[in-house]
């Protein structure tokens, strides 16, 4: 369908156009939500989140390029993707409720200066999340995990990747080509999501406290949609 040179450009362009035409509408709410939880308002958390997301795309592209089998690979992945969607839904709901102060039983844990009952690393992270603060280092793994959320645009990119990989000389070439194609696709989506994140950051710089309730409601709604879609996809 496409020659070997144009397909790389095509993937970059597809990501770029899809970023503005698809990702802003679908992933924009996720970006809007995590912006509220950001402890660090600089550019770095946005980059880390998006690099995490792109890391997942590259892994999936490499996997598809190696196997050359879209359906077999995706069917295996879908179990994991559904689980990610459900878990993400639950976590986003809890984050929203925690952010809005609507989880009374969490207040003794997240309030105050001591937090003595939470001493382990895991509970420290939980405390951070439910108190509306995410350390910078959390954004990269968060991007990796949320990169697995089922997305039609990503599926289409993976279909193109698998089609190109079927023509690869060998499995290693397929792996590298698949990874590169999805890297270009992911980089193409970067400008749109960085712009949305930065825009929300800038205008909300002085408004964090006032934004809490609104963002909390929004996060709960989004979490419910994720959860319902995740459960529906199982049936």
């Amino acid at each position: 369908m496409f020659n070997s040179d144009s397909i790389y450009l095509l993937m970059l362009a597809s990501g770029f156009l899809g970023g503005f035409g698809h990702c802003i509408g679908m992933c924009g709410p996720i970006v809007g939500s995590y912006c509220v939880l950001m402890e660090d308002r600089r550019f770095l958390p946005h980059l880390l989140y998006n690099y995490g997301r792109i890391t997942t795309y590259v892994l999936l592209g490499g996997l598809l390029g190696y196997s050359g089998a879209f359906l077999g690979t995706v069917q295996t992945l879908q179990v994991f993707q559904k689980a990610v969607m459900i878990i993400a839904g639950v976590v986003i709901i809890l984050m929203g409720l925690g952010l809005g102060g609507w989880l009374p039983f969490l207040q003794p844990l997240i309030g105050g200066s001591g937090g003595g009952r939470f001493t382990t690393l895991f509970s420290g992270w939980v405390k951070n999340i439910f108190s509306g603060k995410l350390p910078v280092a959390a954004f990269y793994p968060m991007g990796i995990v949320l990169g697995f959320i089922p997305c039609g645009l990503v599926y289409t990119a993976l279909i193109t990747t698998a089609r190109a990989a079927m023509e690869a000389e060998n499995e290693l070439t397929g792996l590298l080509q698949g990874g590169l194609l999805m890297l270009l696709f992911g980089l193409g989506t970067l400008p749109a999501l960085l712009l949305v994140g930065r825009f929300i950051n800038i205008i909300s710089l002085k408004m964090r406290e006032n934004l809490y309730k609104l963002s909390a409601v929004f996060m709960v709604i989004m979490g419910i949609i994720f959860l319902v879609n995740g459960i529906k996809s199982i049936n």
Partner: protein, 147 residues
């Protein structure tokens, strides 16, 4: 304080806009394409366009048409000169879903076939548009639903 209020209104507007975009895509408020197209009925087989002696028929199978399954796209041309390149381009009306286009190979007299996969849309939308492109000159459109 006034400045703070203005910023609050701006932030609220952005959040509301994002919410509307998100929810609009969920509830399929924008799925009718602008161009008139022929709809594939329940049989999933119907003439896309008819002009004089010319007829183009797109058949998608197996039925029912399902997402994330390997699908066969067969095009039968009647009255057309033999094309050098026949392409099917799949898209979703009202939603950018990336570029999903592929070549069809001749399998019989006037019959061409290609295979592809239609991705699942997490919004739950099921309406897709197939454009059959003959030699980059003639473009016929067919709407169809997937399960």
């Amino acid at each position: 304080m006034k400045g703070t209020r203005k910023v609050a209104i701006l932030v609220a507007l952005v959040c509301v806009s994002l919410s509307v975009m998100f929810l609009a895509s969920r509830f399929q408020l924008n799925e009718e394409p602008a161009a008139p197209v022929a709809k594939v009925q329940d049989t999933q087989k119907a003439p896309a366009e008819t002009g004089g002696e010319k007829e183009l028929t797109l058949t998608i199978g197996p039925k029912p048409i399902q997402t994330m399954k390997l699908l066969s796209f067969r095009v039968q041309l009647t009255g057309y000169r033999e094309p050098e390149q026949l392409i099917v381009d799949l898209s979703m009306p009202g939603m950018v879903m990336g570029i999903n286009r592929f070549n069809l190979e001749k399998v019989d007299a006037n019959m061409y076939e290609g295979k592809s996969i239609i991705p699942t849309c997490s919004t739950g939308k099921t309406l897709w548009l197939a454009k059959v492109i003959i030699d980059h000159e003639i473009e016929k459109k067919v709407l169809f639903n997937v399960q």
